[in-house]
């Protein structure tokens, strides 16, 4: 609970910057609208106003400042507009409606979760292989790193088109892209975790003449649990980003990515911003769930003390 105040401070600071930025960002559009509505605007014509910066125009027309917060199609929506749009699309719509962000959220989330499960399973198996097999240690890691240097935006359409060739559509191609992004932090974290027991710990097992599978189950695996949870938290947010990115270039009809694209293409930034915030809140909630699971698990293991 001690973290509440710092978090609120940061949120407050961001809101303040946002609220202030709305004025210059929207001032040109506001002035154009005000002129059409017959208000006095200085300077009088749009062409003349183009010579001004948003800030300069705001100083020239202080009366118009309140109007910048309520444009129908603002360049930068104000916080209350985004909140209103989110309230409208999350709380007021039926969750099965195509207008509902809950519906779109579930489309993205289901792909995220399936992709995360595939990615973490693959990541854990690869890490076990890397730790126990010298050939894999030498060969797999460079490829895993190389895989993450390819821009996912370039790769996503290829994966979706290729899987479409085999008649696989919908959730699974998106899950594959999620898995592609989420396996990597799991590999890195698990390799580090499985190798975290020191030489003395390994020597102790040698004095018992323990087999390597006993060493894995009794020492390496439990020792890796804190690392695993750190990886999970990075992996789940990467998986969500992967699912959204997978929806962007392919004309998906549903999902957070589709909403962002629709808002952009139809000049309705409120839709884009609402989807953006909903995605961020979903990611934060997923990470919070893993943090809670981490605390619970480590406490039960006796490792969360002090």
């Amino acid at each position: 609970m001690k973290s509440v105040l710092p978090i609120l401070t940061i949120v407050g600071a961001i809101l303040l910057i946002w609220v202030v930025a709305v004025i210059p960002m929207n001032m040109h559009l506001t002035a154009d609208q005000a002129q059409r509505d017959g208000l006095v605007v200085a300077p009088a014509t749009p062409a003349e106003r183009q010579a001004f910066s948003g800030l300069g125009l705001s100083f020239a027309n202080p009366d118009l400042i309140p109007l910048t917060y309520n444009l129908d199609r603002p360049r930068l929506p104000s916080p209350h507009q985004v909140a209103g749009e989110m309230w409208d699309t999350i709380a007021l719509r039926n969750v099965t409606s195509r207008q509902s962000l809950v519906y779109h959220g579930w489309v993205t989330l289901s792909a995220t979760l399936v992709g995360f499960v595939i990615g973490t399973t693959l990541g854990i198996l690869l890490a076990i292989g890397i730790v126990h097999n010298r050939a894999m240690d030498m060969s797999v890691m460079p490829w895993a790193i190389a895989s993450q240097t390819i821009p996912i935006l370039a790769l996503a359409p290829m994966i979706i088109v290729m899987m479409g060739q085999f008649g696989i559509q919908g959730l699974l191609p998106k899950a594959v892209i999620s898995a592609y992004l989420s396996f990597f932090p799991v590999v890195v974290g698990m390799v580090k975790g499985l190798r975290s027991p020191d030489a003395m710990q390994m020597d102790l097992l040698r004095t018992y003449y323990a087999s390597s599978s006993q060493g894995f189950w009794k020492l390496r695996l439990p020792a890796s649990v804190p690392y695993l949870f750190a990886s999970f938290k990075i992996g789940i947010s990467a998986a969500l980003v992967g699912a959204i990115v997978a929806e962007l270039p392919t004309g998906a009809r549903a999902g957070f990515g589709a909403r962002m694209l629709v808002g952009d293409q139809y000049g309705n930034p409120l839709v884009t911003w609402a989807a953006l915030f909903a995605a961020a809140i979903t990611a934060a909630a997923l990470v919070a769930i893993f943090t809670a699971m981490e605390k619970l698990t480590l406490r039960r293991m006796g490792m969360a003390a002090a």
Partner: protein, 260 residues
């Protein structure tokens, strides 16, 4: 070598190949340890005392000479689980209770559940930790953790106990106390103990035999059979015999230390 010799080293050599050339960790080490002896290895760092202990445990492979443990090679002895090993740090698993930690070797060696429980209770009582079975390591002091690690080494009842500076990280008061307890434990269990230390009083107080070693190359410079009685209250350290042995150990250490 007599009938009751447990550990026997003849002309033992161990050379590590490093980037700076070969390092003679052990050179021509001859030593016999009889059943039930308490043998301390003392010397400055780099004298090979820990390396010798690790050779006995089969954790390090000698490059020359012969070494037998219970008449077997060290590796065979390790497979036969002939010894318990106590490291410098307790190294308890933080995710296991004290009881769970002591149980670890028993699980690995395949003891039955009932036997595991019985042995855990017995060795914890032996190191005065009865009642701490369900505690986690972080709930215990450093000295208690080290006692738990000794219990872990005793749990499977090997005849030999190898201890590598087990009390090196503890303060002197705790250390005195643990030394006293260790002697009592040794008297009760009649184990053969190999004990690495760089404290002269600790070596003299505990041992029936003190092996003085010196570095570059690691070798034995003196072997002292202690005339002290088996029964040793802490104040024996003020007796003349004790001071005489401590003096001889110090001389041995100094003799091996001519070059620096």
């Amino acid at each position: 070598m007599t009938a009751d010799t447990v550990i026997s080293a003849q002309g033992l050599n161990l050379t590590f190949q490093t980037n700076d050339g070969p390092v003679h960790a052990l050179k021509d080490v001859d030593l016999d340890i009889r059943k039930g002896e308490f043998v301390s290895f003392i010397g400055p760092s780099g004298c090979g005392k820990t390396t010798f202990l690790r050779c006995i445990a089969g954790l390090e492979a000698p490059t020359g000479g012969t070494l037998t443990v219970n008449g077997m090679t060290p590796d065979q002895a390790r497979r036969a689980r002939a010894y318990g090993y106590v490291f410098q740090a307790a190294g308890l698993y933080p995710w296991r209770t004290i009881g769970g930690n002591v149980k670890l070797p028993l699980e690995i060696m395949g003891f039955s559940k009932a036997e595991q429980a019985e042995r855990v209770a017995r060795v914890l009582a032996l190191v005065d930790l009865a009642g701490f079975e369900k505690k986690f390591p972080w709930q215990l002091s450093g000295g208690m953790q080290q006692r738990a690690s000794i219990a872990r080494a005793l749990a499977f009842d090997a005849d030999i106990l190898l201890m590598d500076e087990p009390f090196g990280a503890l303060d002197e008061i705790v250390r005195d106390h643990l030394n006293e307890q260790l002697l009592a434990l040794w008297a009760r269990t009649e184990k053969t103990i190999g004990f690495v230390t760089h404290s002269i009083p600790e070596a003299v107080y505990l041992s029936t035999k003190i092996v003085v070693m010196s570095p570059r190359p690691g070798r034995i410079t003196d072997v002292i059979d202690s005339p002290l009685p088996k029964e040793r209250p802490l104040d024996i350290r003020d007796s003349k015999e004790f001071i005489d042995i401590a003096h001889r150990v110090r001389e041995g250490l100094r003799a091996g230390h001519v070059d620096d």
